[in-house]
């Protein structure tokens, strides 16, 4: 297991503190800053750049009870070739599916470079015994997932049992080995920005490669201020330790404009260095078509009917 770095004091954890403090977040001010950044006006070539980037950063997702091999195969094909009419549109970063559909997705994406991500650890609630969650994560890797998206145990977190949350992430990280681990905080259940910050630092300290906002199962998810708070936690860890952690807002980003605004927040918080699929992803299902439509519009100067974009 990797050495878990960057532990703030105040946690009931047996590690040497490295960040001087957890710190706090001022709700009014962080929301004002997010609003300011959302007013950046991104036009022409800078917009094309952002839209292209948004496609390359996308984790095209379906996580429903009625997912079937047919549905996932269609999604995976779309992931490889999002716009059949325009070969210059890149593939997305990954498809994100339930464990039972990993193999279907794997076969369909083939050697295209598109990754297969799957959820584990009693997604979406996380309310299962630790040994089951660890076993599930290990199994998902065996099934062929390149990336594992786990959920934290919010019940334990909100009860103040941070060590349990931490230990579980450490064990899952150990179980998945080199497989890319994204840790879902489910911010909609955490209640405050202070908790979002605390959970972000905790997940990072426990070994997360990425921190992710939400499961997509709640109405309150990846808002701009939440994303900003998590990016600031990532920045603090980077400045303190030099370690680069990725970020994945998921749920709630439905159109190209929101995606561009989110990229502006990343750009002005962490810098251009984070504008790569290795350090930033969008978790989304309906975002892709709007981005494709905007790309087409930037290229041709006019909007086309949604009928020209496939529904998968």
């Amino acid at each position: 297991m990797a050495q878990a770095p960057a532990l703030p004091t105040g946690f009931e954890l047996p590690l040497e503190p490295r960040l001087p403090r957890i710190g706090s977040v001022d709700q009014v001010a962080v929301e004002a800053r997010a609003t300011d950044l959302s007013r950046r006006s991104i036009k022409r070539e800078s917009k094309v750049f952002a839209l292209d980037l948004a496609v390359r950063m996308m984790d095209l997702t379906t996580l429903e009870g009625d997912d079937t091999p047919g549905k996932v195969a269609a999604l995976a094909s779309k992931a490889v070739r999002p716009d059949p009419a325009d070969a210059s549109v890149p593939s997305v970063a990954a498809v994100c599916v339930y464990p039972n559909l990993v193999q279907t997705a794997r076969e369909r994406v083939g050697d295209s470079g598109v990754k297969v991500a799957s959820v584990a650890t009693a997604f979406p609630s996380g309310q299962s015994p630790t040994d089951l969650k660890v076993a599930e994560a290990r199994r998902v890797v065996e099934l062929g997932a390149d990336e594992v998206d786990m959920v934290i145990d919010r019940g334990s977190f909100l009860a103040g049992r941070y060590a349990k949350v931490y230990d579980e992430i450490v064990q899952v990280k150990e179980a998945v080995g080199d497989t890319h681990l994204k840790v879902i905080l489910e911010v909609g259940e955490l209640g405050t920005y202070d908790n979002v910050r605390r959970a972000s630092l905790l997940a990072i300290a426990a070994g997360a490669d990425f921190i992710k906002t939400s499961t997509g199962k709640l109405s309150s998810s990846a808002t701009l201020p939440v994303t900003l708070v998590m990016l600031e936690a990532i920045r603090d860890v980077f400045e303190e330790t030099g370690r680069r952690v990725g970020m994945k807002p998921a749920g709630g980003i439905r159109n190209a404009k929101q995606a561009v605004q989110t990229l502006v927040v990343v750009h002005e918080t962490l810098g251009v260095e984070w504008l790569t699929p290795d350090l930033f992803r969008f978790g989304a299902s309906s975002l892709l078509n709007d981005v494709l439509m905007q790309i087409r519009k930037e290229k041709t100067g006019r909007y086309q009917s949604p009928d020209y974009f496939t529904i998968d």
Binding site: A29, V272, E273
Partner: protein, 498 residues
Amino acid sequence: MAELEQRGDLTPAPSAWEYAEAPESRDIVKLEERYGLFVGGEFVEPASGEYYETIDPASEEPLAEIPQAGPEDVALAVEAARDGFANGWSAAAPAERAKYLYRIARILQERSREFAVLESLNGGKPIRESRDVDLPLAAAHFFYYAGWADKLEYAFPHRRPKPLGVAGQIIPWNFPLLMLAWKIAPALAAGNTVVLKPAETTPLSALLFCDVLRQAELPPGVVNIVTGDGRTGAALVKGDVDKIAFTGSTEVGKAIQRELAGTGKKLTLELGGKAANIIFDDCALDQAVEGIVNGIYFNQGHVCCAGSRLLVQESIYEPLIEKLKRRLTTLRVGDPLDKNTDVGAINSRQQLEKIEELVAAGKEEGAEIYQPPCRLPEKGYWFVPTVFTNVAQSYRIAQEEIFGPVLSVLTFRTPDEAVEKANNTPYGLSAGVWTEKGSRILWMAERLEAGVIWANTYNRFDPASPFGGYKESGFGREGGRHGLEPYLAFDGVEASGG
């Protein structure tokens, strides 16, 4: 840790993401070649026959010719205001006065884009600010005081408030239209008429405002606008007015106070500042950094209540300064009309020279200077956002108002020391306190000698909140119920000096 970062074939990050230019169109603003003085509801040529050029400070391009009103012009304007006062305005039903103020507020909202562009064009401030701050606040001020116009008896129970007569108002160049609103709205709500002199370098929004007054069908003479330099202001101070309201430098404020001593004219002064923005180690750090930036780089630091002295608790000094420097690298300095510009042009050559002089003094005195890498336009007046660390309380940059995008950083150890250092200045306009501890905010607010104290925010304004200074930052309050008082006489308490 290294193994966490090794994830095989990494996609290289791009080297830069340049935002394309996003200029607000200036076509919406129609400029005259030459303007007149607005007296008695008409534009008139100045008796002085003198004009000067007003420019765009971002390009030094001339925009229009502006009259230099002489003493004779000022006297005519005051006379028009007297007539306006006598011929109906002072006797109008209070709800009638409210009606005009509501109209003005609504017209300002409707024409806000036009005014925002003009404000940025003539003053150099980013369109983001004129659009999101100056214009909404200016309209809000008229709405707010419109509401008071027929409720003065309730604002001052048992004191029988009456208007003073003619108010002479002199405003600065940093928030031209907003300062006009701060001055005109309460004066009119209280039943006075007005002669207003906009700043020499930024007269255009006040002149466009005359068009709003006509559109609102405000009776002639109720508001008169005279343009010109300091001589025009001096003539207005000497004129036959009942009250002077001045916002500007402490030096000029003192001169006005000397001039008015013993005349019986009422006076309010809103003068300079050297505000302490005080950062405690338990604050929300990233938001405090935003507050610091907003405190000193907002409007290029041309803000009398700017948080120009940063007092940082020593235990948090290093991470805070690192974060602040990093944040400065993301500030976008340039074309005020570009929607992505954070810091615009310095208002005038004269102001730029003053900033340069004080910054040179700071370097000489031994402070350490930090300026982010920044490409400035070739023409126009510009100054890179600047931070001085290692500043001693005795340095000029810690004492004098720079009125530019220049921050002086000092440290403190305890709350007592923070209060002592914050109050150790001839000024007392504003202060900021950043801490997560509510009790400490109240403790500090009781002890800081400043008219406005912000907690966990900075440079926030609201028409309902009174604004004004302690000590050499002036006296009298603008905004809120308090802002009506300087424009009213009370039964048995007639208008008197100070």
